[in-house]
Each structure stands twice: as C-alpha cells, then as structure tokens.
C-alpha cells in the first residue's frame, strides 16, 4: 500500500467533496441529492475508522514519518467530526435550498473543513498542524460569508482578517519553537527541551504565548474571543453551529496534544498551567456575564461558548503533570467536547428551524414557543441549559471530571469560580426557557419542522440523553484516547 489507507477517513471526506462538486456541475438535476452524498461520505469515513477500532488494530501508530499519529486519541475526534459534519449537513439542507445558489460549493467546503479538522486532531508535527489548520480554516472563512446579506459578508471578512492575524501569531510561535529546538516534531521538541531547553525559557514563554493566542482564537477564549458574537450573529446559522463546536473541539484537541506532548517539560508546564488557569477564570466569568445581558440568541450562545471554552481550559490547566491529574483532565476535555457538541448543535439546530420561520433571532420573539413547537422548545431550552447541571446529561460527567482534575491540581479557586459560573449560566438559559414556556406568543401559528431538522435535533437530543444515562462508553473512549496520548509521549 502507498499509505493512502492510513488517511482513509480524511480522504473519503475529501473525495466526497470532489464528487459533490462534480455532481453539482455535471448533473444539475441531481442537486437535491447533494447533501445525501455528503452524508454518505461522512458515513464512509466513520465506518473506515470503525473498522480499525472494532478490530482494535490500528494499521500503524505513526504514519508519514511520524507527522500523523493514528491512535485512539485521533480516532475519538474522527468520530466526533464525522458526527458534527453530518449534523450540520442535515441542519443546512433547508437553508441552502432556500438560498438557492452554490449548493455544491457549500457542501464541498463543509466537507473540506471536516477533513482539515480530522488531520488536525492527528497531527504531531508543527508544519502538519499548521497546514491542517489552514485546510480547515479557509473553507470556514468562505462559509461564514456565505449568506446574501451584509451581515454575513461582514462576518466572513472579520473572521478572515482576524483569523489571518491569529495564524500569523501561531506561525511566529512555531518558528520560535523551531528556532530553539531545531525540529518540528512534537516528540523531538519535547526531548530537546528536556535536555537543554531551560536556558531558552524567555524565548519559549513567548513562543508558548503566541501558540496560545493562535489557538485561543479558534477556541474562542478571552482575550482572543472578540470576533465570536459578531461572527456567530452574522454567519449563516448552520455555519455558526459548525464554528461553535467543530473548530473549537479541534483546537482543544491539538492544544492538548502540543502542550502535553511537546511542551510538557517541568520548567514550562507550571507557566502554561497558570496561563490556562487565568484565561479559564476570565473566559468563564466574562463569557457568562456578557451572555446574561444579550437579547440576540445567537450572540448569547456565542458568549456562552466563550464561557464553556473557559471550563474546558480548567482541564488544560490541570494536565501539566502526568499521572492521575492528566487522566482526569484529559478525559474531562474530551468528554466535554463531545457532550458540548451534542448540546450546542441541538440548540443551534433549533434556532435554525425557528429563525427560518419567524425571521428573528431576538430572544423576546421566542416567547410562547412551547405552544408553537414543543420539539424545538425542548431542543433549545433544555439541551444546553438545565441538563448541564443534572447528572442525566453527559455534560455533567464532563464537568465532574474537569472539576475533579482541577481540585487535584490544587486549583481549588478555579474550580470554585467554575461552579459559581455554572450557576450564572443556568440563570440565562432558564430565562430563555421561561420566555419559551411561559411567555405569550404574538402569533400562535405552529412551526412545522422539516424532516432533516427533526432528524438532526433528534440525534443531538438522543446523544445527550444516551450518553447522560449510560456515560460509560463515552467515558471509556475518552479514557483510552487519553491513555494513547500519554503512552506516545
């Protein structure tokens, strides 16, 4: 084999992107089938991955000269991105049809960015990481500006310009790291730093902060979060949904790998642990407090996603030392990305369906939604809000893991801030829920849901519930992923 099977999951998605473009160009009569071709491609990707997992035999751990790692960690995210991609495709169908142009390009770009994210979660080499990041980012810039209105163009342009700045910072950080260690491979960087890195600490701190800035942009944490509300509000809602879960999850995947595997040296890990802890505290607090006063639901979710990212970061702050803390914190991050993906996708899908009908994203226009569409109300009011604080939701387990990791890493202050913040977040989700259940609707017309939206919402809800009640499969997948990451380094 020439090794193409090793990146089969990515290539099946990329190939599907090509097929989608071809069908779009050559067989215009079949355009309505495009989303299903895209779904098929994602399914092939997931099945390909499953074939490795089910036999418990990965073809090779290190592929392409060690630039990619094919382990349980990467695979966890392959599944996640295939799932996110599929849900977003389903959620996009109505919107894209209504928009009525460039269907082929839309799905092709969506698939390309999915492939980019998969590469990102497997990459163990700085250059590969950068390439994968750009492969996933460039389609996102275009997608964010896909809508016909000015706001969407504005969102796309903003995202592009700021993304470029973030990429530049990231590249600068990588260059510095290369300058100190003379290599771009994470494992070699780690070895080099352990051996004689301490003398370059000043330079390394700068490199580290630049890396954090570059990825912080994608993770959407303070102070690199400012684009979030504008872009979420302006971008087409399915794209905003994708940005809020997909690129955020990938950023966490790669940051966890870089910092744990590459920059785990003692003289650095205390520094980045503290940086992450402070960013976490600020992001959670600022994100939640800003979310409370929003009147636009997409802006509210935007700020809420900043706060959520802050919670993820508690896990990152805790993993600076190998051992139990790492296991707990790492699994916590993975659990959180997965459960967060379900809940946020569910919420966004519901918003897509509602705003298509009522033509507004204002929270006050959601009053009395319960009478108009119980399904959508449950999706929006209960998925992200109430259950996150209830044990029958997978997010609860993620939080238990992350908070516990924080407590063990002597970051009790941070955990206390996290717990207080989860109260605040309950408050604004509750106020949305109250509007929807108890508010008086101006117009009592039922909002019908198209089958694709219903399937997407159903899948997200099912994911939340199933992994909440039976969290074991998800927890053990996360733990074996983290195990793989630890043994590599």
């Amino acid at each position: 084999m020439n090794g193409i099977d090793l990146v089969g999951p990515q290539f099946s998605v990329l190939a599907t992107a090509g097929i989608v473009l071809l069908v779009d160009g050559l067989m215009p009569g079949h355009r309505r089938h495009l989303p299903f071709i895209a779904l098929l491609g994602l399914a092939v990707s997931a099945l390909w991955t499953l074939s490795w997992v089910s036999r418990d035999s990965f073809p090779q751990k290190d592929v392409f000269g060690g630039t990619l790692s094919l382990d349980e960690y990467a695979v966890f995210f392959y599944f996640l991105f295939a799932g996110i991609g599929a849900t977003v495709v389903l959620a996009s169908i109505d919107w894209v049809n209504r928009e009525g142009r460039g269907q082929g390009e839309y799905y092709a770009l969506l698939l390309t960015t999915c492939a980019g994210l998969m590469f990102l979660s497997a990459a163990r080499d700085l250059i590969t990481i950068f390439l994968a990041l750009e492969l996933s980012s460039i389609p996102q810039y275009i997608l964010a500006g896909w809508g016909k209105d000015k706001r969407s163009s504005e969102a796309g342009l903003k995202y592009l310009l700021l993304g470029a700045i973030a990429s530049a910072m990231l590249l600068y950080g990588m260059a510095l790291l290369y300058g100190v260690t003379g290599t771009t491979m994470l494992s070699e960087i780690s070895a080099s730093l352990q051996a004689n890195g301490e003398q370059y600490r000043a330079l390394l701190v700068l490199a580290m902060v630049l890396l954090i800035a570059g990825f912080g942009f994608k993770m959407a944490v303070v102070p690199f979060q400012m684009w979030v509300p504008d872009v979420y509000q302006g971008a087409p809602t399915p794209v905003a949904a994708f940005l809020s879960v997909g690129s955020k999850a990938a950023a966490f995947a790669v940051v966890t790998r870089i910092f744990f595997e590459g920059l785990g040296a003692d003289f650095l890990s205390d520094d980045w642990s503290m940086i992450f802890a402070i960013i976490a505290a600020v992001s959670m607090t600022l994100g939640n407090l800003m979310a409370v006063v929003q009147t636009d639901i997409k802006r509210m979710l935007g700020y809420s996603s900043v706060a959520q990212a802050g919670t993820f970061l508690i896990g990152l702050a805790a993993i600076s030392v190998p051992g139990e803390r790492f296991d707990l914190g790492g699994s916590g991050i993975l659990l959180f990305t997965a459960s967060y993906a379900f809940t946020n996708l569910g919420a966004f899908v519901a918003i897509i369906a509602i705003s298509q009908k009522i033509g507004s994203d204002q929270i006050r226009d959601y009053a009395g939604m319960w009478k108009r569409s119980p399904l959508l109300t449950v999706g929006l009011a209960f998925l992200p809000g109430v259950p996150h604080r209830h044990p029958t939701n997978s997010g609860f387990w993620a939080k238990i893991y992350i908070f516990n990791a924080g407590v063990r890493a002597d970051l009790l202050w941070l955990v206390v801030i996290g717990v207080l913040n989860s109260v605040v977040s309950g408050f604004y989700y509750l106020s949305v829920a109250r509007q929807m259940f108890l508010g008086e609707a101006e117009d009592e017309k039922t909002i019908s849901t198209s089958p694709s939206i219903a399937v997407a919402l159903g899948a997200a809800t099912l994911g939340v519930l199933v992994f909440g009640l039976i969290p074991m499969p998800l927890i053990s997948a996360a733990e074996s992923a983290v195990d793989a990451l630890r043994t590599v380094s």
């Binding site: 000015k150 504005e154 342009l157 903003k158 310009l161 700021l162 700045i165 973030a166 910072m169 600490r201 000043a202 701190v205 700068l206 902060v209 630049l210 954090i212 800035a213 912080g216 942009f217 102070p223 690199f224 400012m226 684009w227 509300p229 205390d270 520094d271 503290m274 940086i275 960013i279 407090l289 800003m290 409370v292 006063v293 139990e324 296991d327 707990l328 699994s331 604080r389 209830h390 044990p391 029958t392 893991y401 908070f403 516990n404 407590v407 063990r408 717990v419 109260v423 309950g426 408050f427 509750l430 109250r434 259940f437 108890l438 039976i470 969290p471 074991m472 927890i475 053990s476 733990e479």
Partner: protein, 658 residues
C-alpha cells in the same frame, strides 16, 4: 458492600423485602406520569385516575415495605448495582430501605395519595388538569427516589428533580406574574443551598472516592471507622455544612426561607404535598440521613441547632401578623421545619423524624382545609371570611383537629412529637428550650387566631367572582359558602386520623427503636417523655389558645391596641424582617440590574462593539459609512489580540522572573 451496617447492629434483623418490590414503588408513579404525559392532552379526564392508580400502587407497596421492615425491627436492607466506574470514580445505583426510609415512604405516598384524591375535586375544570397531574406524579416519583436512594449521588439526582417539579408546580398558573416570579425565586434561592450539596458531593469524591458515595460508607467514614482514612474534624464539619446548606435551601431555613411563603402561589394541593408535607421535609431527611456526620462535628451541630431555632422563632413571629390564611400556614411550616432542624442539632434524631412524621399529616390537613375554604369563598384573605363553621362543618372540625395537633394539645399527634423536641432542648441547651417554648406559645396563638377569624363570628362575604377572568375555575357563589364535595372532604377526614393518633406510636419507644436501627451506632437519649416538660409545654400552648380567644373571640383586648403597644415589633414582623426587601432591593435591583447590567451593557456597547472610539458609533448610525466601522472594529479586535499576548507575556515574566 464491604461494610454492612447491620454488623454494628446486632439487635435489628435484615428485612426480607425483595428488590423488585422496592423498585416497583418507584416505577408506579413514573408509569402514571408517562401515561398522563402521553395521553393527558387527548383525554384530560383520565389524568386524575391514572395519578390515583399510580400513587395508590406505590402507597400499598410502601405499607407492605413498612410492615416488612417492622418485622426486622427497622434493620437495613440494601441492593446496590454498579452504574458505571471510571478510574477513581464509581457511581452506583441502588435502593436502601430501613426504618427511616420506610417511615418516609409511608408519609410521602399517603399524603400524595390523599392530595391527588383532593385534587380531582380542587382542580376539576382547570384547563391544565393533565399537566397538573403529570407534574404531581413526577414529583411523587422524584421524592420516592430521593428517600430510597442508597448513595449521595442518587440523592443529588432526585434532589434536583424534586426542585424542578416544585418550580413547575409553583408556576403552574404561570399567566399570573406573581406565580411566575415565585417559581423563579424558589428556583434561585434553593439553588444557592444546592451549591453546598454539590460541594459536599465533590468533597466526598475527593476524600473518600472508594466509598462510591454510599450512605453507609460515608457514615462509617465520618465516624472515623474507616481504616487508613480517618478524616479531620474540619473535613467532617465542611461536609456536614455542605449537606446542611442544601438542606437549608430545600427546607426553607433562615436566611433562605424567603421562597417558601411565595411558593403559596401554586395550587393549594401542591402546597399541601410539596411545600408542607414532603419536599420541604427533604432537608430534614437529608440531615437525618447523614446524622452520624453531624454527630462527629459539634460545630456543625451548633450551626444546625441555632439556624433551626432562629428559623422557628422568626417565622412564628411573622405568622402572628399575616392576614392571608394560607400564608399563616406557610410561615407555620417554615417555623416547624426550624423546630425539626433544631432538634437534629440537639442530637434529637428521633424527635426530629417523629415531628416530621406527625407534622406531615396535620400540616397537609391544614393546607387542604385552607384550600377547601378557598374553594368556597374564592379568597385566602381572613378579613373577608368569618363564621364559616356553620357552612362548612367538616372542614371546620378537621381543621380544628389539625390546629390542636399543631399547637401540641394532649393527646393529639403534635403533642408527643413537639414534646420530644422540647425534652431534647431541655437536656442539651436551655436557651434553645426557652426559644422552643416561645415558639410553641406563638404557634398555638396564630393557629387559633386564624380559626377564630375564619370560622367564628359573622361571614364577611368572600371575594366576588370576576367573571371576566377566563382562567378562573371558580364554580360556586362566594356570597353563599358551602361545604366542599366529598372528594375534598374525605381526604380531610382521613388525614385527621393520623393527626390525632400518629403520636401514639411513641408508646413504649416503638418509633424510636424503629428508626434508630437505621443508624450505625446510637448515642441518643434514653426516655422520650418527661412529665415536667409535658406540663410546661401544655400550659404554654393553652395560654396561646387562651390569648387568641381573649383577643379575637371575646375581644377583651382589641388586636389594634396590642398592635399599637408593640408597634415597633409589629412593623418588623409585618415587613418580614425586611429580608425580602433586602434581597430584592439590594441584590436584584441595585446590584444585578443597576450595577452589573449597566456595566456590562456599557462594556458591550463601547468596548466590544467599538473598541476604537465613538466615531465608530456615529458611523454605524450613518449606514452609508458602514464599511468604516467594520474595518475599525476589526482593527480593534486585532489590537485586542496583540494586547492580550503582550499582557500575558509580561504577566508570566513578572510572576516568574527569568
């Protein structure tokens, strides 16, 4: 389980009850809930019958369980399954039954069954009838899950669920703004307490992960019997205070009691079931469940005792001046819950549970009685009632029995349980005993004040029906009050039986031995009755009734002149010690809406939307120059990124010099 509580308790046997039976208690109301949720909209009339069937089945099984546990002298039976386990985190799913659980099961299902029966009359014709019974079944299920749980984690799950049901039911008539506000208040205030419970949960996970949150294991650990893991007093105290914080939220203890009186906005049967008999007692149950933890920490016990006593006296004084019939009952509930907490803080495990047990019956009776009065007069305002004795004899006589029981008159149920608490106070802390006596006096006084105002004198006409209010489901004519239908009076009569007789279970330490077997070790007091205490409390209660008689029946002294004499106190009581105003004005209005929101909005407007400066904002208003602010904003954001990097780098260098 590595540790089995019965080892420590040779005297009590092991109940023979099988596991399916225990789960069935839980499942029955759940099935009813599911059926009502599925078909309630189509066939609203069957909702009530389904609820009765589901709760009735649970009730029968609960009595079976009680007798089974009685055969084993209150011993413990536990069935535990691993739910999942990951690393150091193990979570179990199980049921545990012992004397305490059995008593709670019987209380919850009996009261719930009678309340559902009553509701079929009270809620008849309300257009949300299906939703109502669905919520009530869900509540019953959650409450049963709470008492059957064998580990703290499971308790937490159901703890949150009962809170949710309470929220839904308080706001049941959500078109009333006051009901929606009350629901929100209840949710937020109890949430504050729940933080403590969550902290306790995390603390257990950190300190004894091997316990897997198991109740018996935690009791064992707190008692210092776990080899290789003997906790310090500080840790135990922290855990106990966390538990108590959760309990204080649910059981409306000072200063978190403010939500309970507002919760009376819900339908009256809801108040009877949730906010008088069961859910609010869950806090007391929780503290009792972890009683060995409190035994191990004197500091925590002091906190519990004093908070309980303060709650009891604060609520009782407020109850003295209420004009709303139902609010009198609400403050009385807060006060009695304080009594129970005080007992727990004074090592009076048995007395507290005994009072919980008797209180559930007579207080549910009193609430249902007030609902019956409302059903006929369309009001809760006592100034519009009077003379109802003639029109509603069954309601009157049962209400009188409930009041006498609450006042602690021999030989009714409340007399026995209240006396046990006062006896414990006498032994442990004389200051608290004096407070207890004062509360007993006030309790008798405000209950009979309510009775004289409502049932005696001349009828003042009730509240006229507003025929324009389409949501009102009031049927009768308030000008001509009438006795309620039998579905409502039958529960009153049935509840009057335990309100009279439940206290007799104290005979020969029956109740005491039964529920003490649930504890790993018993350090309690010996006798549960002392004639001196009994006489003193009876004298005080009779004095309270006499004072109410003198003022409100004979009018030897007018209530106005008393109010004038004690004006400063009356004003404080009438304003509920200004606590609501403090919370609402200071925290909600000033800080949240005034300060924070303005600050945040300003930040969003000026800092985030246009970090550059005001020129950006001007430009936004002129839409032709839209492009200008876009670039301006992006520059600002880019600047933010670079500034962020600089700040972090400098901070790291400063914190950890090179």
């Amino acid at each position: 389980m590595p540790f089995l509580a019965e080892e420590a308790h040779a005297a009590a046997g092991t109940p023979s009850i099988g596991e399916p039976m225990l789960w069935a208690i839980l499942v029955a109301p759940l099935v009813a809930w599911a059926l009502i949720a599925a078909y309630g909209r189509k066939f609203p009339t069957i909702a009530g019958y389904l609820a009765l069937a589901g709760v009735g089945a649970a009730c029968l099984l609960s009595y079976y369980t009680l007798f089974n546990v009685m055969d084993a002298d209150g011993g413990i039976r536990q069935y535990t399954h691993e739910w999942f386990s990951a690393g150091s985190l193990t979570v179990n799913l199980g049921v545990r039954v012992d004397g305490l659980t059995a008593v709670m099961l019987v209380v919850v299902t009996t009261v719930s069954l009678l309340v559902q029966l009553y509701s079929t009359g009270y809620m008849d014709g309300d257009h949300g009838e299906g939703r109502y019974f669905a919520h009530m079944c869900l509540f019953t299920f959650s409450m049963l899950g709470l008492v059957l749980a064998d580990n703290l984690f499971q308790i937490f799950i159901f703890w949150e669920l009962v809170g949710l049901c309470s929220y839904l039911l308080i706001g049941f008539w959500f078109h009333k703004p006051s009901a929606a506000a009350a629901a929100k208040k209840a949710f937020i205030v109890t949430r504050i307490g729940d933080l403590g419970l969550l902290a306790a949960l995390l603390l257990i996970f950190r300190e004894v992960p091997e316990a897997a949150f198991d109740i018996a294991e935690i009791q064992h650990w707190a008692g210092g019997h776990l080899e290789g893991n003997v906790p310090t007093t500080t840790v135990v105290t922290l855990f106990a205070l966390g538990i108590f914080a959760g309990a204080a939220g649910k059981s409306a203890q000072f200063p978190l009691h403010v939500w309970l009186p507002d919760a009376m906005e819900g339908p009256t049967p809801v108040s009877a079931l949730i906010h008088a008999a069961t859910m609010v007692a869950a806090g007391v149950y929780l503290v009792a469940r972890f009683f060995p933890v409190f035994e191990a920490s004197g500091d925590a016990r002091d906190v519990v005792a004093w908070i309980g006593a303060i709650t009891a006296i604060v609520a009782a004084t407020i109850a003295l001046v209420q004009t709303d019939f139902k609010r009198v009952m609400a403050y009385s509930t807060v006060s009695q819950l304080g009594y129970m907490m005080m007992a727990l803080g004074l090592l009076g495990y048995v007395a507290a549970i005994f009072h919980l047990f008797t209180h559930a019956f007579f207080k549910a009776l009193l609430f249902l009685g007030s609902g019956s009065v409302n059903h006929s007069t369309n009001t809760f305002d006592m100034r519009k009632m009077g003379g109802l004795k003639e029109f509603m004899p069954i309601t009157f006589w049962t209400f009188l029995i409930g009041s006498l029981s609450l006042a602690g008159i021999f030989p009714l149920a409340g007399f026995w349980s209240k006396d046990e608490i006062l006896l414990d106070a006498w032994r442990e802390n004389r200051a608290l005993w004096v407070i207890g006596l004062c509360v007993a006096f006030m309790t008798a006084f405000y209950m009979f004040r309510a009775i004289f105002l409502t049932f005696f004198g001349t009828y003042k006409g009730g509240e006229p029906v507003d025929h324009h209010d389409e949501d009102s489901h009031f049927h009768g004519d308030p000008a001509h009050p009438h006795e309620s239908p039998w579905v409502m009076t039958l529960p009153l009569v049935l509840l009057a039986v335990p309100a009279i007789a439940a206290g007799w279970l104290a005979y020969d330490h029956m109740f005491k031995d039964f529920i003490e077997a649930a504890l790993p070790e018993v350090h309690g007091h010996g006798s549960t009755f002392e004639i001196g205490i009994a006489i003193s409390s009876s004298v005080v209660a009779l004095a309270g009734i006499g004072a109410a008689y003198a003022i409100y029946m004979k009018k030897w002294v007018t209530s106005e002149s008393i109010r004038a004499t004690f004006a400063p106190f009356a004003i404080i009581f009438e304003n509920k010690y200004y606590l609501d105003r403090l919370y609402e004005d200071l925290f909600v209005t000033r800080i949240m809406q005034g300060g924070w929101n303005r600050l945040l909005q300003a930040n969003d407007k000026y800092v985030v939307d246009g970090i550059v400066n005001g020129s950006g904002r001007l430009a936004r208003e002129a839409s032709s120059r839209l492009r200008v602010i876009q670039t301006g904003q992006v520059q600002g954001y880019g600047l933010g990124i670079v500034a962020g990097i600089l700040v972090i780098v400098v901070a790291v260098y400063a914190a950890n010099p090179l």
